[in-house]
Every structure is written in C-alpha cells, then in structure tokens.
C-alpha cells in the first residue's frame, strides 16, 4: 500500500498495545442494575430533563430535550423506571445533575423508534435530526455534531475528512467499527455529504489497521467520492489539525479551525452512528468502548449502555488484585478516575486499568535538564521545556504571550518523552485554568 506523502511535524511512536483487543468483535454489554446518566454529556448546554421520578421509560425514549442550539438530546439507554433525579459524580469528581434509571429484565429491552430521517431530505432537517439523536463527536471531545457540521456561510467546505486514525494506544473501538459497520459508515457519509456539500471524502486510517482500510475500500459505493488514505503510524495524528495536514497538506495556523481551510472533520464512529441511527429515527443509547489494560482480566470491545457504572463493568469483566489506576479514554489524553462510581458517557472511548507496575507512582521527578526532547516531539512546535519552567514560577502571562501556551492541546507527547518525568501537561492545564480565571475576574 502506498503511504501518503505528507505528514505533520514531530510526534511520537508509543507502543500501540492494540493487539489484545483489535481482534475482539464488539459485544453487547449487559445492563447494570442501576444506570447513572448525567444530563451533561456534551460540550455546551445540558439538555433539559423531561421525565419525572417513578416514571417508566422505554429504551430509546427521550429523557432530556435540547433546548438550545449548542446542546443535544439525551435518550433512555434502557427500558426501566426512573428511580431518582439528582446529583451524581462525573469524571472530574464534581457533582452534576443526572438521572438514575433502573432497567427492566433484558427480555423487554426493545428499542422504540422515532420518525426516520433520510439522507435525501434537506440539510436543515438532517442537522436537526442529528441534534435530536443526541449525536456528539465520539472520539472523546463530545462536541455537538450538528454544530460542527454547520460551518459559517462564508467558509465553504470542499472536503470531508473522516477520522479513522485512532492514534491513542490501547484503543480499538474505531478499528472494530470500521470492520463491523462499514455500511453504516457509508450511509453516515451520505448524510454528511448532504449537510456539508463537500465534493470529496477522505478517510484517514493508520497503517496498523490495514485490514480496516482494505475492508472499507471494498464497501465504498460506486456513486460516492470517497477515498481511503493509509497513513504511517504516528501520535497524535488523530488530532484534527495534524490529520488535515497529513491527508491534505493543508496547514492550520494557531487559532484557525478546520473550516478555515475548507474541511470538516468527523470521527469515524460518529459517522457510523449517524448512519446507524438516523434511518430509524433513533437516538444514542449506547456506545462502543474498549475495555483493556494490564489489570483487566477479560479485555475486549463492548457496546455499553450510556450510564453504566465503571464499578459494574470492572466487576463483570474482572480485574487483577494489584489494580492501581483506571482511566477513561486513551493513555495519552484520558483522565484518571478517583472513584469507580461514575459512568460511561457519550465521550467514553476506552476504560483502561493499570496495575502497580504500570503507573508512574515511583517515577522520580528531576529538574529539567534542557535535553530538548520535548521540542523535538511537540506537534504544535512549542517549547514545552520553557513553558514548564515558567509554569513552575507561575509566570502564566508570559507563557501565553511569549510561548503560545494556548496552542497546546495537551496531547502529552512532551511529558511522554521527558527523561525528568516532569508532569508538563498538568502544569499547562493549571496555567490555562489560572489564565481563564484571571480573564473572568477582569
């Protein structure tokens, strides 16, 4: 297979650790005795709860309605009874409002469907259907898809980039979706083409998923302008800016968005969900999650109902005794959880369990020795070393004005290579937070 000519600058090559789950087909995960469904599962405004305590709901029924443009709806992941509407913990350890749902026995779990939305209807109707189906970017950011798909009128879109890169180590959900839902993806692309009026579609896949690339190529309908592009493996290629550069050789200056260069990027799992849900008028009630890591006993890919508690998942699949750290998302950008009493949301792409030996507990942090490795890997061409030194001195203003702190998207490549084990990403998050607070104070 011929490799793409371009690539983005810098980047790293971590062990991908995907082999343990790459061949594991997606299985339906059982219903937990109690689902905890936070209302806020998307960037933007939370939808408004339209059910009450004690009410019986059906799987697929609307639980919360998007009242604003920058919001998406939320559907019942199971048929059951609303036990309680109140606070629950989110991944950050904050208490957020949500719905406690007690599912009925599995035999009664039929999905109710709404009005189908076909790709032949108008772009406006499709965008509304996407919002009503509760669809957000499933790569992890959970950005409302209908907002992303409607760029400003003065920025015409010529290319639709479908992101099947999945550059985070350990994760194999997109890989499995490509192998198992090729037709859904192609149907999704029809909807996406309609709403963006793009002329071409490029699917980007890294070379460690050749089988998926070959499989997708076979499923491209003759009437669709779709090409599949295999890219050399390099992290963080899945980041939109990097991917656009790798695939199209279009560069995005800091602060610019994909639509500034005529591109809309959509995660491949999001495309598959659009193709799977819209023709049946359904909403998102579950998502594919990779459950893996050295401390997991039964690893694999599962279609897990939204709201399933981590504790239920880990107890069902088994963990080793020396479990030490659990994080959601990939190992490069995912968040470690403080408690297992939080649940799978629309943005959860992976749940990874590490044992003692894998965590960085005993890693000594040394002072920066100026080795320059972080500069060699930063995909945004920043100077993480200098940023780290300034962060330590709390010179946040200078980090922003002289060293482009806000361009950092926290991919973690710098901290990954740092021989002094300086928690650079953490420093940068703290700095960004401080700057935001300062701005608000003004």
């Amino acid at each position: 297979m011929i490799f793409n000519q371009h690539t983005f600058k810098h980047g790293i090559h971590p062990d991908d650790n995907k082999s343990e789950t790459a061949t594991s087909a997606i299985h339906q995960f059982p219903f937990a005795p109690l689902l905890m469904i936070p209302l806020q599962q998307n960037i933007g405004a939370a939808p408004e709860c339209i059910v009450r305590e004690g009410q019986e709901v059906q799987r697929g029924q609307l639980l919360a309605q998007a009242k604003e443009y920058f919001s998406v709806s939320l559907h019942a992941p199971a048929s059951g009874v609303i036990k309680h509407i109140g606070l629950m913990f989110d991944i950050k350890g904050q208490q957020v409002p949500g719905i406690y749902l007690q599912p009925f026995a599995a035999s009664t779990q039929e999905i109710i469907e709404g009005e189908p939305c076909l790709f032949t209807t108008s772009a406006e109707k499709i965008l509304t259907a996407i919002q009503q189906a509760g669809i957000v970017g499933l790569g992890g950011a959970a950005f409302p898809s209908h907002v992303k798909l409607k760029p400003p009128k003065d920025k015409p879109i010529d290319t639709l980039v479908i992101n099947g890169v999945e550059c985070e180590p350990y994760l194999t959900t997109d890989h499995r979706v490509m192998l198992e839902q090729a037709d859904d993806i192609m149907t999704g692309i029809r909807y996406l083409l309609k709403v963006t009026s793009a002329q071409q579609v490029v699917i980007g896949i890294e070379a460690n998923k050749q089988d998926a690339a070959i499989h997708l190529k076979k499923h491209i309908p003759a009437d669709l302008p779709v090409s599949v592009n295999v890219l050399p493996v390099k992290y963080p290629q899945g980041a939109e800016k990097m991917l656009i550069q790798s695939l199209l050789n279009r560069q995005l200056a800091p602060g610019k968005h994909a639509n500034d260069v005529g591109v809309v990027g959509v995660n491949i799992a999001t495309a598959a969900e659009i193709g799977r849900l819209l023709p049946h008028g359904r909403g998102i009630q579950e998502r594919v999650v990779t459950i893996t890591g050295p401390a997991m006993t039964r690893k694999g890919n599962y279609r897990i109902p939204i709201g399933t508690p981590l504790r239920f998942i880990l107890e069902t699949l088994g963990t080793s005794n020396n479990l030490n750290k659990v994080f959601m998302g990939g190992p490069m950008m995912g968040s470690a959880v403080a408690s297992l009493d939080i649940s799978v949301t629309k943005g959860t792409s992976g749940i990874i369990a590490f044992s003692d030996s894998k965590t960085s507990l005993n890693k000594t942090i040394y002072p920066c020795i100026h080795c320059g490795k972080c500069l060699e890997v930063c995909p945004m061409l920043l100077n993480p070393s200098q940023l780290g030194l300034l962060a330590k001195k709390q010179r946040y203003e200078e980090m922003q004005t002289n060293y482009h702190l806000m361009d950092c998207f926290e991919c973690g490549a710098c901290a990954y290579v740092c021989p002094s084990h300086i928690p650079l990403v953490q420093h940068f998050r703290v700095a960004k937070h401080a700057i935001k607070k300062q701005k608000q104070a003004r």
Binding site: D15, E315, L323, A336, A338, K358, T364, P367, C368, G372
Partner: protein, 333 residues
C-alpha cells in the same frame, strides 16, 4: 478491589527514558576513553579518576545534606561530571589538587546555582578553570604517555603534599598544541587521532571520543548540532587563515584533532543543561565555541582555548535561547 485509586494527569504512559539512564549512557560512551587514558598513563590516571570521583561524590553528598531538595546522588549526573573533569586534567596532576578541584566543581559549578538542571556552566569545566587559575604551572605540566614504568610507579607530582613546594618530573612533554605554538613543531594527524601524543588524561584519543559520541548519537542523546557547529567553524576559520598565512597557522585537521577539542566538542559543550535547547540555537552555540577556540589558539597567550570557549558560550546560552525560539505551527500564513 483496592482503593483508593491512583490519580494523576495524562499521559499515563511514558517512553521509559530517565535522567539516570541518560547519564549511564554517557558513562558507557566515555568508558573506552577512560580505559585508554588508564592504558596510556597508567596508575597516575587511575588514581586521578578515583580521587576525582570520590571528591565529587562526597561533596555532592555534603551539599545534599545541607539542602532541602531531593537527594541527587542517584541520578548519576555527578559521576558524569567527575569523570569528564578527571579526563580534562593533566595526568600527573597532584591528587590533592584534583580533590580540591572536584569540590569546586560541585560547590561553585553546581550547587551554588541550585543543583542539577540549574547550572549555567559546565560544572566539570568550572572545577578545571579554578585549577587553571590557582595552579597554572601544575595544570600545564604534561607527563609523557606510554612510559615504560607507568603501571609500577607514579610521577612524583602525583603524590605532592598539599600546599607544599611543587615538585615536577624532569621529563615533561609539550602537548602538540604547545609544540606547534611555541616551537613550530608539527604533529601528524594520524598520531593525534589515535592518541599517541601527550595531553590531558582523556583528550588525546580522538577516535575513541568519536566512537563514544557515535554511541550517544545512536541513542539520540547527543545534541549533535553543537559539535557540528564547532567543527564547521574551526574548519572554515582555520582553513581561511591557513590559506592566508600557511607558515604560522596549523591545518584545519590539526586543529580538530589536537588538544581538548574533541573531548570538549563532543562531551562538554554538549552538556544539555548549559547549552541552548533548540536545534538552531545549538548550532549557533557550536559556531561561537568553534570561533572562540580558533581565536584563542591562534592569537591568545595560551596554546589551548577549548575550556574558556565553552565556558564563555555557556554564559551566552540563555541569550541564544531567548533569541532563537521554535517557530510555532505555521506562523507565516
């Protein structure tokens, strides 16, 4: 299920490199040079190494006890400093001077600035510069290499009493640089490259120094732009003056392979802490060092200039870093 869970910021994996591993690689890269130095100068250099390492490690331990910071002996950086420091010393240097210089390396080169990562100058060279200033005669007294009795007896200067009247051997050698500068005697590049000449303990065998640097390059530890800059400047400048005044200017190859240039360019100028962080900054820094070496060697009072060139460039390094920053993601458009 064990609780509480460990929480920290992403990324949750790392490349597995560490400061101590880097330092161990540097020691490994230097090991052939160390073995050659002991082979060429015998017991005197062995003792010089032992005393330097002991002095540096004990001083580091002493300052660790005084400081509230983390203990820094386990990061191996002090061993690297000590070994490089010993390799820059004249083989017959009095051991008490070596011990004193080792203390200065740690005290004035490292801890006064805040320890590892904070030293603006290469600590080994700070120690050496101190000795050069305090004991100029002892620091330019060169023991001949490959003397027959080097494994059974020591040069009298080695065991001199502290602060006593220094005694030097009758047989002392001029280094190729001094021979060229003061007596216009040329030394063949072949002899220089293989280390058949006299000089500081570890500076003579260019081939082994290059091999060690090659190892570091392979391990991606070497800031290769620095030696590249030094070599470029030295070759171009010397070549230019060699064309103008062929009688008094040595050849570029002689310049490269003589004195402390290889040891300095490959192992001391490349000290990550005291050098710039960007690739271009490193190259500029190398060019500056190379130019200074040539200027000092050709027109200065001393035959050798590597140490001062590096120390001076160390001082410039933060300014180079301020001037040369990485270009952020496509700033042009």
């Amino acid at each position: 299920m064990k609780t509480p869970l460990h929480i920290d910021s992403s990324p949750h994996i790392n490349a597995g490199s560490s400061v101590e591993k880097i330092m161990q690689h540097v020691l490994l890269a230097l090991s052939p040079v160390v073995i050659f130095a002991i082979y060429a100068y015998g017991l005197a250099v062995l003792l010089l190494l032992v005393v330097s390492i002991l002095s540096c490690v004990l001083s580091e331990h002493f300052f660790n006890r005084l400081s509230t910071k983390n203990q820094s002996l386990q990061d191996y950086s002090i061993i690297v400093t000590a070994v490089i420091y010993a390799l820059t010393l004249p083989p017959g240097l009095a051991l008490w001077m070596a011990a004193l210089g080792g203390f200065v390396c740690v005290a004035l080169g490292k801890f006064i600035f805040g320890g590892l990562g904070a030293n603006p100058f290469n600590p080994a060279l700070v120690g050496r510069a101190f000795l050069q200033a305090a004991f100029p005669v002892a620091m330019t007294n060169w023991t001949p290499a490959f003397s027959a009795d080097r494994f059974v007896s020591l040069p009298t200067s080695t065991l001199a009493w502290p602060f006593g009247k220094p005694i030097y051997d009758q047989i002392s050698m001029a280094t190729p640089l001094a021979a060229k500068k003061f007596e216009q005697i040329d030394t063949g590049v072949y002899e220089l490259a293989l280390g058949l000449t006299s000089g500081s303990a570890g500076e003579t065998c260019a081939v082994l120094l290059l091999a060690g640097a090659g190892y570091l390059l392979w391990k991606k530890i070497l800031k290769w732009q620095i030696p590249l800059g030094i070599f470029t400047a030295v070759i171009l400048l010397t070549g230019m003056f060699n064309l103008i005044q062929p009688d008094v200017t040595p050849s570029p190859l002689f310049m490269l392979f003589s004195g402390g240039l290889m040891l300095g360019a490959l192992f001391m100028a490349t000290d990550p802490v005291a050098s710039p962080i960007t690739a271009w900054g490193c190259f500029v820094y190398g060019i500056i060092i190379g130019m200074l070496i040539v200027i000092i060697r050709l027109w200065g009072g001393l035959p050798e200039g590597v140490m001062y060139a590096i120390l001076f460039a160390n001082a410039l390094s933060p300014h180079i870093d301020r001037l040369i920053q990485p270009k952020v993601f496509d700033e042009k458009s």
